[in-house]
């Protein structure tokens, strides 16, 4: 893929006879305009993030964090001063962690079944995964609430967990299956010819090959779970997660602690992503 694009797009001038130099200048101008536009759009995409980070350093004296009043680090010290918010963040982290573990195990198994075998009902399973990813969150959340109401199941921490696993499994399954595309099964046969039992074959041959897919799926589930608002909103009962708390706070003013927590989550996520990208690059270089 990348070699194809590494080649210059412009044609050698000689071949275009006469029209060459003008066209090349024009093409360079268009490329430059597009580059400026792309950077502008990247700035636009980053603008709310910059605002969030900056106003975590705002020396405001009340909860209302609207005007710039000078630079301070104090909110980093007072990070856990709002008990409900701290509890919401703890809930979010715990739910995301448990969701990631359950979804990664179930999703990887599904991904293996889909990518590694042919079986009856595969088409239906494929449709199930696709519908689950394509259905709007609102519908997923509202229908699940209907289920919990009908069977009179108390909404809270457990229902949030059940919901989060439900909407993250498919992402893991699809990621793992994509990793298995073009998987060379003779490698497994070779291991078995050399006397490995099925479990050894899986651990020593299959697992290392699909591991990047599993990691990507796990990170995706964690990110989706910790950020989810809509499905959680329908199924959380009295339990609050970080996004739910922030949404509730929009009416009375979002305190600077939210900016600080957002900033820390942002930095943590970016760091993890960079580490993963570097690890992936090292693997390909090896």
């Amino acid at each position: 893929m990348s070699q194809a694009v590494a080649r210059p797009v412009e044609r050698p001038a000689a071949a275009v006879e006469g029209r060459g130099p003008r066209r090349r200048g024009q093409s360079r101008l268009i490329a430059r305009l597009l580059a400026a536009y792309t950077w502008f759009m990247i700035f636009y995409l980053a603008a709310p993030i910059l605002v969030m980070i900056a106003f975590g350093f705002n020396d405001t004296h009340s909860r209302v964090n609207l005007r710039w009043q000078g630079f301070t680090f104090k909110w980093y010290g007072k990070l856990f001063d709002i008990p409900d918010l701290s509890q919401a963040l703890r809930n979010s982290l715990l739910i995301a962690l448990v969701t990631t573990i359950v979804s990664t195990v179930l999703g990887t198994m599904m991904g293996l079944a889909m990518g590694r075998y042919r079986f009856r009902g595969q088409g239906a399973t494929d449709l199930l995964l696709f519908a689950n990813i394509a259905a709007p969150e609102l519908v997923l959340g509202a229908s699940l609430l209907t289920l919990f109401i009908t069977v009179q199941f108390q909404r809270g921490f457990v229902t949030i967990l059940l919901a989060h696993v439900m909407f993250t499994i498919a992402y893991v399954a699809v990621t793992v299956r994509a990793r298995l595309a073009g998987f060379d099964r003779t490698l497994e046969e070779a291991a078995q010819d050399l006397g490995a039992d099925p479990w050894q074959t899986f651990r020593k041959v299959t697992l290392p090959l699909i591991f990047p897919g599993i990691m990507a799926g796990a990170l995706l589930s964690f990110a989706l779970s910790i950020d989810d608002f809509v499905i959680t909103n329908f199924n959380s009962g009295q339990t609050q997660t970080f996004p739910i708390w922030v949404f509730g706070a929009t009416r009375v003013g979002v305190p600077p602690q939210v900016n600080v927590m957002g900033t820390l989550i942002f930095l943590g996520g970016v760091t993890l992503a960079v580490i993963q990208a570097l690890a992936a690059r090292r693997r390909t270089l090896d």
């Binding site: 194809a4 694009v5 590494a6 080649r7 797009v9 044609r11 275009v16 066209r23 268009i30 597009l34 580059a35 536009y37 792309t38 759009m41 990247i42 995409l45 980053a46 603008a47 709310p48 993030i49 605002v51 969030m52 609207l66 179930l106 198994m109 599904m110 079944a113 889909m114 075998y117 079986f119 199930l128 696709f130 519908a131 990813i133 394509a134 259905a135 709007p136 609102l138 519908v139 509202a142 229908s143 699940l144 209907t146 696993v165 499994i169 399954a173 699809v174 994509a178 990110a223 809509v230 909103n233 329908f234 996004p243 922030v246 929009t250 979002v254 939210v258 989550i265 942002f266 990208a277």
Partner: protein, 299 residues
């Protein structure tokens, strides 16, 4: 010959025997999705035909009037959501295509870096990003405040609580969902095809319209799907950035479920929404094949 047979036999034998492995592997996930995804949707359909209230309970009475009530009472919000969805999809396409094009054809070795910058918003909670826009667009905030001080805008001018704010917020939040699939399809195009078009004296515009754009159509399809469905069904942007005149169907469904406890009407509405959106999705999937939608969607 003998060797050929020996090599063949195990394969044939393996094919005939029933293999439980894939079923056992898929089972837990399929059961989870059946219980918490498929059954709830069937239940929503059932509840949408019930009558009653929270105090006295609900009975299944084939009450189709829930559907006509839902459409009669809320067709304005329904149509508004579809219109917002269409505008947002169009806006993300127009804003996103040039970006995806430049990164795919001129990104060079730094392509993944640009993609990373494009994905930065995903590291911040959806709700916080929307709250940040509420802050940026507030009546005397960092954007409108200075413009009003310079008398470039009348002091009564406001963006929040208008359609512009909601559409703008939705466009911001779903832009990456449009750009990514566009990028994936554009990146696969061999630049030599463009060169060939130029060799044949196609103008730049013609080369783009006849070669590049048709080849990027799968990305356009996937991008439209990934933007239209969630933006038409969103209620977070309308809640935070909008006002009473920008209420979307998502807000109505949320209120009916969580505040009014009018489950039959809420179920009827969310079932209509789902039917409209999923019908669209299935038509798309039929046209493209789910494999390709995945492929493009997953990058």
């Amino acid at each position: 010959m003998e060797q050929h047979l020996r090599a063949d036999r195990p394969v044939v034998a393996r094919r005939r025997r029933f293999k439980p492995a894939p079923y056992l592997l898929a089972l837990p996930g399929v059961v989870w999705l059946a219980v918490f995804f498929v059954i709830p949707i069937v239940m929503t359909l059932s509840v949408s035909l019930q009558t009653g209230n929270v105090e006295q309970g609900f009975q299944f009475t084939w009450h189709f009037a829930n559907y006509s009530d839902a459409l009669r009472l809320y067709h304005v919000q329904f149509v508004r959501s579809i219109i917002y969805g269409v505008i947002v999809t169009g806006a993300t396409f127009v804003l996103g295509y040039p970006m995806a094009y430049w990164i795919a054809f001129h990104g060079g070795r730094r392509k993944s870096f640009y993609l990373f910058l494009l994905l930065l918003p995903f590291f911040v909670s959806f709700v916080i990003r929307t709250v940040a826009w509420q802050f940026i667009l507030s009546d005397n905030g960092i954007l409108l405040g200075p413009l009003k001080d310079l008398h470039l805008l009348p002091s009564s001018f406001h963006v929040l609580a208008t359609s512009l704010a909601v559409i703008g917020g939705l466009t911001y939040n779903f832009l990456p969902f449009m750009v990514l699939p566009l990028y994936v399809s554009l990146e696969r195009i061999d630049p030599e095809l463009v060169e060939a078009a130029n060799d044949l004296y196609a103008s730049r515009m013609r080369a783009f319209l006849r070669v590049v754009f048709p080849l990027s159509i799968p990305g356009v399809f996937a991008g439209v799907l990934l933007t239209f469905v969630p933006s038409a069904a969103d209620y977070v942007n309308a809640s935070i950035l909008g006002g009473t005149s920008t209420t979307m169907i998502g807000n109505i469904i949320q209120t009916l479920y969580l505040t009014n406890n009018d489950y039959p009407l809420a179920s009827a509405l969310s079932f209509v929404l789902m039917a409209v959106l999923i019908a669209g999705v299935i038509i798309y999937a039929r046209v493209l094949g789910t494999e390709r939608v995945y492929e493009v969607a997953a990058g």
